[in-house]
């Protein structure tokens, strides 16, 4: 289907089903139950899953295929965000121009950064990209304040021109919309104790992510993708094979920069503001973690990694001591105190610690990330079923 082979088509359809049904799947617990806080099916978080999924898919095209580890990809996300907000200030609150220009500006900026940084490889490349990102971050706070609005962050205002739309609607800033459909519009479905939210913005993100994912699959299976893997495998041989690796790496860098810009543009479409902190090195590091955690070089791994990290960030960080005492209320007081004391460092603000430990465990025991785990489990089942097959055949044979 759509030029994909059988395996990729089924993967694509699986992702499609998961994304479409996410409002159900991520809300498995009834609204008023103890476990409701583990529900992730609210629009804001679901949008973030997809947006960071796009960011990670793009990053994976560079890192997973060519092996060039960029530590500055958040800069492109930031540039995309600023471009998006400016489109909403100058043109219209329709999200299409904002998303479109985010991609263009991030692409242009990544062309510049990539052209310079790709003169070096390995650790020097990483440091160069990191330097560029930190430079962008600092400039956004200082010299570029007229464009970025410094520490306050770039926001919409009532007196923005919006030449293709309206400056204000009933004395308020108009909502970000897609041809009139407001992004924050939601439909809530109440089934028994469960509450499911279907959000317009989420489904816009879903459409964009499916397109982004499809393009990534095509790139992975293309001659271009094969050349990128050749860069990672043996650049020496590549050059002696009549291939110029520079334009390949630069193209991969720009494509992944454009994915980052797309993610930035979608963030703005969902919530029209942009701040310099989006470009900070921690944000760049986060996408590296997502990609490695999920499985660099795999198609779907980075999306899983992004979901994993965002889930921890938003759900684990909300568990506090009071919640813990709630869980352990049935236990004797001393035991409950002790358990809370033990678990305390891992929850709330300590979610970083939990994530860090998970990350270490995965990298040490599953160097291929979550996807390697999935593959191993898959192989285990396959072996079991083929064992059964062969034993069935063996027992059938003497009967003949």
């Amino acid at each position: 289907m759509l030029g994909l082979n059988k395996k990729d088509t089924s993967l694509f359809l699986l992702v499609l089903v998961l994304v479409v049904l996410a409002p159900f799947l991520l809300n498995p617990f009834p609204e008023n139950s103890e476990l409701a806080q583990f529900n992730a099916g609210y629009p804001d978080l679901m949008q973030r899953f997809l947006i960071f999924g796009i960011f990670a898919i793009g990053f994976n095209i560079l890192f997973g295929l060519t092996g060039y580890l960029s530590f500055g990809h958040a800069a492109f996300l930031g540039v995309g965000s600023y471009a998006g907000v400016w489109m909403m200030k100058l043109l219209t609150m329709n999200v299409i121009p904002a998303i479109f220009m985010s991609v263009i500006f991030a692409g242009l900026f990544s062309l510049l950064v990539g052209y310079i940084s790709l003169r070096r490889s390995g650790i020097y490349f990483s440091i160069l990209t990191l330097a560029f990102a930190q430079m962008s971050f600092s400039l956004a706070y200082s010299v570029l304040t007229p464009i970025t609005n410094g520490e306050t962050g770039l926001q919409l205002a009532l007196d923005d021109p919006r030449i293709l739309g309206v400056s204000q609607e009933n004395g308020a800033i108009p909502a970000a919309n897609l041809f009139g459909l407001a992004m924050r519009e939601s439909y809530e479905l109440s089934l028994g104790g469960w509450l499911f939210t279907f959000n317009a913005g989420y489904y816009l993100c879903a459409v964009v992510m499916m397109i982004a994912f499809y393009v990534a699959v095509r790139i992975f299976r293309s001659p271009f993708g094969m050349m990128l893997r050749a860069v990672k495998s043996n650049q020496q041989r590549m050059n002696f094979t009549g291939l110029n690796s520079r334009p390949y790496t630069l193209a991969a860098f720009v494509i992944s920069g454009m994915y980052a810009g797309l993610a930035g543009g979608l963030m703005v479409a969902m919530d029209p503001l942009a701040g310099a902190e989006r470009m900070q090195w921690t944000a760049s590091g986060e996408v590296v973690l997502m990609t490695i955690l999920g499985g660099a070089g795999t198609l779907i791994g980075p999306v899983l990694g992004a979901g994993f990290i965002k889930y921890f960030e938003n759900i684990f960080s909300k568990i506090n001591d009071n919640v813990l005492y709630g869980w352990f209320s049935a236990l004797p007081e001393g035991v409950a105190d002790f358990l809370v004391f033990v678990i305390h460092p891992f929850i709330g603000k300590g979610w970083h610690l939990t994530l860090g430990i998970m990350f270490m465990l995965i990298v040490i025991f599953l160097p291929g990330g979550i996807m390697e785990g999935v593959e191993r489990i898959g192989r285990l089942f396959k072996r079991k079923s083929s064992d059964k097959d062969s034993s069935a055949r063996a027992s059938a044979a003497p009967a003949e």
Partner: protein, 251 residues
């Protein structure tokens, strides 16, 4: 006609004169061997031909193209391929992919942004790759990862990669080093078979058995200079060669 003509090439590393006024030419369609003791400058010489090193002085002419100053990928694009002493293959990719990459490079040039084509449905390239693998006897392993091959298989794969580009000139740096006698003989057979394609070959080799069964002409390199050149039979008997290369012992 000479396909390769090297004139007055010098190359020094600090105080060490690795190549000293080397003059060398290869006739089209022949197999030309370069022999010489360790450290004679054989690999340095090949590196100067393919753009890995730039000669200090002198010229390297391939037909009527000057290779001096050209980038390695440009040199390959005009028709020079090299098999390395330690196999340089794409260790993380499958055997098929290892051959498809050079085949694509040959057909599509140094860079193509074919991000939306499906490489697996490119029949021309797939057929060619399959054909090459059959030629070197690696067809059953087409979907294995190249890094898992034995050393001898890696060499055969690298040779197939070079051949898939239909090079005009093939440079082989010790194609049988570290191989068993049986593998060596297989490689000789393989190289003889591909001789039919009219590819000019320059072979660096330690193993005299290989040299004498393949080469039509032999050049002897010692301490960075060509000290003798001629037919294998003549070289065998040349006292200077025996002195420099074999330490005076008789073959």
């Amino acid at each position: 006609m000479d396909i390769l003509r090297v004139e007055d090439v010098n190359k020094s590393f600090g105080g060490l004169r690795a190549l000293n006024n080397v003059n060398f030419s290869v006739e089209e369609g022949t197999v030309h061997a370069i022999i010489g003791p360790n450290g004679a400058g054989k690999s340095t010489f090949l590196n100067c031909l393919i753009g890995r090193l730039i000669p200090d002085t002198g010229s390297v002419m391939f037909g009527d193209i000057s290779l001096t100053g050209m980038k390695p990928y440009e040199i390959n694009q005009v028709g020079v391929s090299r098999v390395f002493q330690t196999p340089e293959i794409f260790g993380d990719l499958t055997l098929m992919e290892n051959i498809m990459i050079p085949a694509l490079a040959k057909r599509d040039g140094e860079f193509q942004l074919h991000a939306f084509k499906n490489v697996a449905s490119d029949a021309e390239i797939c057929d060619k790759a399959m054909h090459m693998l059959e030629d070197v006897g690696l067809a059953e392993k087409r979907d294995s990862i190249a890094g898992s091959l034995s050393r001898g298989d890696k060499r055969r794969l690298e040779l197939a990669m070079c051949l898939s580009q239909d090079p005009k000139l093939l440079l082989l740096d010790e194609p049988t080093a570290g191989m068993s006698r049986a593998d060596t003989n297989n490689t000789i057979d393989l190289l003889k078979r591909i001789g039919d394609r009219g590819i000019t070959k320059v072979v660096i080799e330690h193993d005299m058995h290989v040299v004498f069964s393949l080469a039509e002409k032999v050049s002897v390199l010692a301490q960075g200079a060509i000290i003798a050149e001629g037919k294998p039979e003549d070289i065998k008997g040349d006292p200077r060669v025996q002195e420099a290369y074999l330490g005076g012992a008789h073959l």
